[in-house]
Symmetry: C2
Subunit: 644 residues, 2 copies
């Protein structure tokens, strides 16, 4: 039986009526299969430190400059011209530009949660008015399929991005509703979706396919927000693949789109990386609500496929430029890596659902790997240059950081991720509080018992291992504190109020501290930020005989800028010599660099010889965080270095 | 000054009037800058051995079965329907199918030189009649740009393949003329080219561009065949890039097409591999005739670029499927390798010209590397399956050997190469005879002094190192015998009539034996076919820490078929253990396999760990020649193996 039909028979608990402002980043309070419940975005405030600086840049520089660019490139005019159809302004940009504005709106909405800004809020309100003025009475809203292209509506479902745009509209609407309580955009989104619910679905309704999956997760969140089961049913229908015949989906499209066949038939990630990961994220959301065994098995299979054979060490995903696609297992080329910022973010969203479902620290570890490295790399330190690709090696002639892309999906996607970031750091569960990631921050929220809880976290992360967490429950109460012990922290110590804890911290698990916590209780964690060499599975062809260098959550790269001697592509790690860490407050906003007495290969041997390569020349090597590659202009760099 | 204008001022020796049947594979007798002169195809006969068997398969199986397929797919009907325009038969296949038939014709023509076949000759004559019946009075001939597409002629020069087809028609025509003396097809080709000469060229004539370079080398050979300087001038014009403006060639197209800018501005191979190598081959032909320093410098630069950074160890070229293109320097991915058979052949044609110009043994070595490995792999042992791609690693699910491709460029290209192969083995120069490659063969030709010369070569190559060459000049005469010492023969011995020669054989050079050679003189060469590990430049990311295994000219691969234990992708060479050779007469037509006590990695470690991979498990490894991959059906295989 296909899920779409099964669903109609299921019963569900009525959604708890939680005020918009108290809904988590994912509002999972009433979700039956969610072990963890992310906190609302507004409840976490970063203090001076790594992510505070990134968030400030996002709010101060990225969000306003991108709005100016979206205006300049016609993204807003594409809506305005529809409210005034007599004007002869042509539509500009590719067919999916609406989604760029929606993602920007979501970023701007979340930014208000962490930094109220009446002027920005007024801008958002005006922008929403501009958008909704273009909505048709039926609810349909898309600036591409209008005028002379009106007759093409729903005829190009594999490439048309109509539902993709609606998905991002809905996500933006939910974000703005949660931050401000304003429902105007949300009502517009619901109007469009109600039109879909009415006219599309299994025969005799019209067939519908998400040619770029994305709407599924928005529908799940809309269901959580409104309690209207029809939205979850629509997601189930989209995931069911029942329209393979009616929409005449080719085998090639099944792979590329990651749609058009039952999600539960999937056994691996393939095709377009962002599509595949978005589909899996939507399916994970659906699974959180319904918990069907087939769906859970598929999700576990896909999660294992991703983490054991298709993820770069930076957390980036998507190996091939052709089709912006996943490669074969272990096909992880460093310089040719496509690793679109949007794909790494989609991977994080997927793992975020898997973490909520399981409480398995490995998912938090994968989130951390991507966030600190392959996602963080996507925006420049000044917040105005963006990466579409995030390769693990490049040359000075590769122009990777750019202020604008005609396909402008990544820039606002990075912004909405950084703006809402605090909510990824903490969750609650019925039995307590979870700390997933460590940065200077405060939490102002409550336990699920209802007891108000404040917490303050002070740390030198990601450069140092010290973490001090002070809990301020409104009253003493027994609950469990779940502290994530990262995979890289091999020797962790933990003190509670200065006393060694009885629980033994194990890497890649949550340390569970169950006790009656009193206001002012202090947990002192010392994470092990020893510099380590990372080795890949020997089947990863390009990484064999090499290592990446990791310190704490940060992956490093050798960039020519810091290495004036041999080309970085000729450098090798000398296994006999240590790698030392040095904090440089003035460099790239304050980073820890790594220094090593390594080796350099002769740069001009034959292409093929009967003699093994010699690396006799000593060479000083300095490594900087990968995320900052090309941060001082284009230069050769590489993450993986041969070891001798 | 651009070559095209300079040319008009140059004077040239009148071409020697050499009968068609005495013209070499390249007819370089009167070519001023050719040090070496390839022998006519008909003068070399392979005797029982490696290439005799390949050539027999080509003649007996490949050429006839491909003709049947070309008939079945409409390639000949595409011509017939033009002679009978009332018929409503639609044209079939992509726009360049004419060239597939021309390449087949060339293969069939050369096959008559080594094995006369009146029935095949009659078939060729009928096919030529079919082709020429479709030629227009102007000389224009192309089955795509007719009827409703007639108005598109010359408007799609970057993609239309009009000149590409003409180039292959001309090469087929020259081959058939040299083998049979028949000029009908040659006259048809000349008629088309004379039309080009009349109507196209620098303003005020119409602009012309080879969107797929190929015609250039055909024009040079037509010049050598006819003595008509206009054909060489047309080649010069095409290589000059003067039509960049008039044909509005984009920067992207300059790269992709390897045309539309002056050839002498090129500094590296880039873009579409077959196009680039064909352009370089044409330019090398032009350079052989004209010897301009700028052109020579460009050719040397490109040849170095190819051999030091862009050639696979199998002699394959073309790293990227996208654009069928060269990659960056050292971008040589094994499984993703595009390595089209046509590209490896184009590389061989390029190196053949460079060898003729220089007499540098390194070019013969590159020819050998490609011929025995990355070209030889392109046709199955039964002659009816062909590779378009020749990757260095693949799985059982990769379908690489196929009987037909809609873009059927590679199958007849392999056939024409194998049919004409003997002429690549011997050359003459003013001062003597050159032996480039070693297989059981006889030569029946003459020295350039005019003295008739027969030679007989007996060898166990490529499996054994013994070579015995017996010379039979019509009379005793002083000349130099140039014997190529392959790069892989590190310790070679040479005897002349049983006596140690005074000259010391050095790998990758020609051993020069200058003396008065008498009928019956015998040279005994013992090549060193010790099994060797080949190492790549450390910048070749996928090959670092690994080795390929080579024995004589043959590159080996580990294929699952011979290795029933661990997956071949988990195998590693144990540097402590030897690799032994074993001739197996019943396997794959008689091959030497290699056996080794190697190691196997654990197949299921994490994707990334802090522990270096261990390879503790011993594993017996059997290697077979790379060219035979998937020769017993699809299976996992790999050329490069980690060394522990």
């Amino acid at each position: 039986m296909r899920p779409v039909f099964a669903l109609l028979l299921l019963s569900m608990p009525v959604l708890a009526q939680v005020p918009a402002r108290d809904q988590g980043l994912l509002h999972l309070t009433a979700t039956p299969n969610a072990r963890l419940h992310p906190v609302p975005v507004r409840t976490v405030a970063f203090q001076a430190g790594f992510w505070k600086s990134r968030q400030d840049t996002t709010v101060r520089a990225s969000i306003p400059t991108l709005l100016a660019l979206l205006e300049e490139k016609g993204t807003l005019d594409n809506f305005r011209r529809l409210a005034n159809p007599d004007a002869s302004v042509p539509r500009r940009g590719p067919l999916y530009t609406d989604s760029d504005l929606y993602k920007w709106l979501e970023a701007a909405a979340w930014s208000l949660a962490i930094q109220p800004d009446p002027k920005l809020e007024a801008t958002i309100d005006r922008t929403i008015d501009t958008i909704l003025a273009a909505q048709e009475p039926s609810g349909y809203l898309n600036t591409w399929f209008t005028g002379e292209r009106r007759s093409l509506r729903w005829t190009q479902q594999t490439s048309g991005h109509e539902l993709y745009c609606l998905g991002h509209m809905t996500q933006a609407a939910i974000a703005y509703y949660r931050v401000t309580g304003k429902r105007k955009l949300l009502d517009g989104s619901i109007k469009f979706i109600d039109y879909l619910v009415r006219d599309f679905g299994p025969a005799p309704k019209q067939p519908l396919l998400t040619g770029h999956p994305e709407l599924e997760l928005a529908l799940a969140e809309l269901y959580r927000t409104t309690g209207n089961r029809q939205y979850l049913d629509l997601a189930a229908y989209l995931l069911s693949g029942v329209e393979r015949e009616r929409r005449k989906i080719s085998n090639r499209d099944h792979v590329y789109l990651f749609a058009g066949r039952p999600f539960t038939d999937r056994t691996q990630f393939e095709g377009h990386a962002v599509r595949a990961l978005s589909a899996a994220t939507g399916a994970a959301d659906y699974d959180l609500e319904t918990g069907e065994p087939a769906s859970r098995r598929t999700l576990d299979t896909l999660a294992a496929d991703l983490s054991t054979s298709k993820m770069f060490v930076t957390g980036g995903v998507g190996s091939r430029a052709s089709g912006e696609a996943f490669g074969d297992p272990f096909e992880l080329p460093n310089r040719q890596a496509y690793t679109e910022s949007c794909a790494a973010i989609a991977g994080m969203l997927f793992h975020h659902r898997m973490l909520a479902a399981t409480g398995d620290a490995r998912y938090a570890d994968l989130i951390e790997r991507a966030l600190y490295n392959g996602i963080n790399s996507g925006m420049s330190s000044n917040g105005t240059l963006y990466c579409y690709r995030n390769p693990l090696s490049a040359t000075a002639s590769d122009r990777i950081r750019n202020p604008w892309y005609d396909t402008c999906c990544c820039p606002p996607n990075l912004q909405r991720t950084f703006a809402a970031l605090g909510a990824y750091f903490y969750s609650t569960s019925k039995d307590g509080l979870w700390v997933h990631l460590y940065d200077n921050s405060t939490l102002d929220w409550h336990l699920e018992s209802g007891t108000p809880l404040k917490a303050q976290l002070k740390t030198g992360q990601p450069w140092r291992g010290d973490v001090e967490l002070t809990l301020h429950p409104a009253r003493a109460e027994e609950f469990t504190l779940y502290l994530r012990i990262p995979s890289w922290s091999l020797k962790t110590t933990v003190l509670v109020n200065g006393q060694a804890a009885t629980a033994q911290p194990q890497p890649n698990t949550y340390l569970t501290l169950k006790r009656t916590w009193k206001p002012g209780d202090k947990i002192t964690l010392t994470l092990d930020v020893e510099t380590r060499l990372v080795y890949a599975n020997p089947r990863v062809s390009e990484d064999y005989g090499k290592a990446a260098v990791q310190r704490g959550p940060i992956l490093y790269a050798a960039e020519q800028t810091d290495n004036p001697g041999p080309e970085v592509f000729d450098l090798a790690i000398d296994h006999r010599n240590p790698i030392s860490a040095e904090f440089r407050p003035a460099l790239l906003g304050g980073i820890t660099v790594l220094n090593h007495k390594g080796l350099a290969f002769d740069s001009t041997p034959s292409l093929y010889t009967f003699q093994p390569p010699s690396a006799a020349q000593p060479a000083a090597i300095t490594l900087v965080p990968y995320y900052a590659f090309h941060g001082r202009g284009p230069a050769n760099f590489t993450v993986w270095l041969p070891i001798r």
